[in-house]
């Protein structure tokens, strides 16, 4: 009997330790994280991150289509990889970046590039400087829509599946829609037809364009002297 008491004590105790160290303690340390606020003479001049609910629907599509099984949303520092040198961010991401995300999509795999800052105009996935081979295109909404519909028209070696079901092919009645995709070659619809994004695609792209975790934070060294000085 004594021996099975030891067994139970060990099993319960080890679970309690695991739960305490990896769940309760981190929650205690990180659960209360607040946005970074910069004040100037008592007035709030800067606040980050900002709670933004307008992209929740797009984010839900990002999750339901499982984008995060191929795209991470976390930038590592120079000691832990080449994320920064690749242009996926200007600083590493930290816990404070995610405080307003109930279920953050950090991702564990990179079959595609990291998207933590894909909405930032500085984001790139091509080489520049000494390695540059071609000039990166501007990634705006129409670029993203085209890329979702037919990835290989934009990046010829892309390994991303096409998301045609987020679009519909319609007969052009009167004038061509403003948001119709500029498709050429085999992907182009029949004459008289056009491919337009469904609301899901538009929301998903709006969410992607909202992704930007490059705001300077005081806990990230070298990210922003002007804020860090506060």
């Amino acid at each position: 009997m004594n021996r099975s008491l030891h067994l139970f004590a060990g099993i319960i105790g080890s679970f309690a330790l695991s739960c305490y160290a990896l769940v309760l303690l981190p929650q205690q340390q990180l659960g209360g994280l607040q946005p970074q606020i910069a004040e100037d003479e008592g007035k709030i001049v800067d606040i980050y991150p900002v709670k933004n609910v307008s992209h929740e629907e797009g984010r839900a599509i990002y999750q339901s289509e499982g984008c995060f099984y191929c795209h991470s949303q976390q930038v590592r520092d120079e000691q832990n990889g080449t994320d920064l040198a690749r242009g996926w961010g200007v600083r590493r991401t930290v816990a404070r970046d995610y405080i307003f995300e109930k279920t953050p999509v950090l991702g564990s795999m990179r079959i595609g590039p990291d998207l933590a800052n894909v909405g930032s105009p500085k984001w790139r996935n091509e080489n520049e400087g000494e390695y540059a081979t071609y000039k990166p295109k501007k990634r705006d909404a129409s670029w993203h829509l085209l890329h979702l519909y037919a990835p290989r028209t934009v990046i010829k070696s892309s390994n991303m599946p096409p998301y045609r079901y987020l679009f519909e092919t319609k007969k052009i009645s009167g004038q061509r829609s403003v948001d119709a995709l500029d498709l050429t070659g085999p992907d182009a619809p029949e004459p008289g037809y056009e491919v337009v994004p469904k609301p899901e695609a538009t929301k998903l792209v709006a969410y992607l364009l909202s992704l930007d975790k490059s705001h300077p934070l005081k806990e990230v060294k070298g990210s922003a002297p002007e804020v860090a000085a506060k």
Binding site: L7, P26, C67, Y69, G81, T103, N159, R164
Partner: protein
């Protein structure tokens, strides 16, 4: 390959006890098996159906990695839904159900208790699978929680947990009413597994509902739950089974009780602290990842003691892998456990992790543990247990041989492809001058290898499922002598 000992080895027990005592023990075992037969067969049968589903899903997801357009126009088959459906079908369908079936049978046998009201276990398995079916359906319909590793929505997870609790409770009762003291090593591991799982699963799913858990803590909870599932629950049941099967089939006691004890305590203490390695390099406080790396390194104590103990028990009896299907599968599994664990320790180190994180190397590690270790041990266990439940022996040693060849080479091809592909892309990405999309394009060839592995696995699983079906209809060899690859004492290449 022909190094097996020629000496005829007696495998039947020398029977030190009086014949009447032996007969009494045999009758008791038969009664226990009869009481366990219904639920355990139900667990195994459903587990194999889930394995077949997982095979289809795994194959599709593998093809999509080299042909991204494959089935892409149908939302339910998009890679981002197929992959989590595959992971859940394999982990919570095949692995958990087969593991629970083996665990319940081991507890009944080792505690020497007959199972009362076996319908409770069957009900538990039905609830579990109803929840899992609903959950996977929701994943395919795009209604996931969006948390990697905990994709199954809350309502389905509750059904699963209710089902689990029925099984877990019956397991606890078997232990409570045990007539065999002290408890054997396998019982320690099974009891630990049965206790850890519901708490981890329940707390992790609860955290998704709690508004106070947000941000990276939520990701950490998911990583913790995934790690506990694989490295505590699954590993514990796999080791419990190996600790039972190896001594039983070769008919000698475990090499060392002290090694077993040390290994168990190291396992239970350190395994649960390793979860944060899944987020190594990520946006977490550094101490968390450091703690998990340290715990992973300390697990060397368990890896060394368990591997040494099981392999030393086999010492001098390795020729049994030529004869006994159970031993062939189980020894393959134990060797995979050792490799998976050593690779796990190395890969957790920061200098390796920075290269291999976010690559298919991690997928290779998961398959090494969940398939090459756990699933192979489960196959071995089912080959051992089933004849005792249905009263006849497996029909064809050729089918078992083909099953082994297909899944051993299939798993090997899959895991090596993923691992080499992961190392290649990780090494390439370490150079910032390498264009990302180029590295991904170069990696496509390894997924063709992985798909080839899946074809072999599928072949093996179909053979196994067919053989299992024959056993359910009592189509097999007459009971008594196990179906061996070759009679013991005869040389077989």
């Amino acid at each position: 390959m022909t190094a097996a000992a020629l000496a005829p080895t007696p495998t039947t027990a020398p029977a030190p006890a009086a014949p009447s005592a032996v007969q009494v023990q045999a009758a008791e075992r038969a009664a226990i098996d009869a009481s366990a037969s219904g639920p355990v067969l139900f667990f195994f049968g459903s587990a194999i159906l889930w394995l077949l589903l997982a095979t289809v899903l795994g194959f599709i997801s593998s093809v999509q990695l080299h042909s991204p357009g494959f089935l892409a126009d149908c939302p339910i088959f998009t890679y981002g839904r197929i992959l989590p459906a595959y992971n859940n079908a394999l982990a919570y369908g095949w692995a958990t159900l087969s593991g629970m079936g083996v665990a319940i049978w081991l507890l009944a046998r080792l505690c020497r208790v007959q199972i009362k009201i076996p319908a409770v276990l069957v009900t538990g398995a039905i609830f579990w699978q109803a929840g899992l079916t609903l959950g996977i359906g929701q994943i395919l319909a795009g209604k996931t929680t969006g948390v990697e590793g905990l994709e199954i929505p809350g309502s389905a997870a509750v059904l699963m947990l209710v089902g689990y609790m029925l099984v877990g409770l019956w397991g606890a009762l078997l232990f409570g009413y045990r007539r065999q003291a002290p408890a054997y090593i396998s019982v320690w591991y099974v009891v630990a597994a049965l206790f850890w799982f519901p708490w981890t699963f329940g707390l992790a799913h609860l955290s998704i509902q709690l508004p106070g858990v947000t941000g990276v803590v939520q990701s950490l909870v998911a990583a913790w739950a995934t790690q506990n599932f694989l490295h505590v629950f699954i590993t514990a049941i796999g080791l419990a089974t190996a600790y039972y099967l190896i001594p039983k089939v070769i008919n000698r006691p475990v090499h060392s009780y002290h090694l077993a004890s040390t290994g168990f305590w190291a396992f239970i203490l350190f395994s649960g602290l390793t979860g944060a390695v899944r987020l190594s390099g990520g946006p977490l406080p550094v101490w968390l990842v450091t703690l998990s790396i340290a715990a992973t390194i300390l697990l060397i104590v368990q890896i060394a003691t368990v591997s040494a103990n099981l392999l030393l028990t086999m010492d001098g009896q390795y020729h049994m892998v030529y004869h006994s299907p159970t031993i062939r599968f189980t020894v393959f599994g134990v060797l995979s456990f050792t490799i998976a664990s050593v690779v796990g320790v190395l890969a957790s180190l920061r200098s390796f992790d920075r290269l291999l994180h976010f690559t298919f190397f991690q997928s290779a590690q998961t398959h090494l543990l969940l398939y090459a270790f756990f699933s192979m041990v489960m196959f071995g266990a089912i080959y051992y247990i089933l004849p005792r439940l249905v009263g006849c022996e497996w029909l064809s040693s050729t089918m078992i041989r083909w099953h082994f060849l297909a899944v051993a080479y299939g798993a090997g091809t899959l895991i090596v492809s993923l691992a080499v592909g992961g190392i290649a892309s990780g090494a390439a990405l370490a150079d910032p001058g390498m264009i990302f999309s180029q590295v991904i394009e170069d990696g496509v060839r390894y997924h063709i290898g992985a798909t080839l592995g899946w074809v072999m696995l599928a072949l093996g699983h179909v053979i196994f499922a067919f053989h299992f079906l024959l056993m359910l209809f009592r189509i097999g060899q007459p009971g008594g002598e196990p179906t061996l690859f070759a009679p013991i004492g005869e040389e077989k290449h």
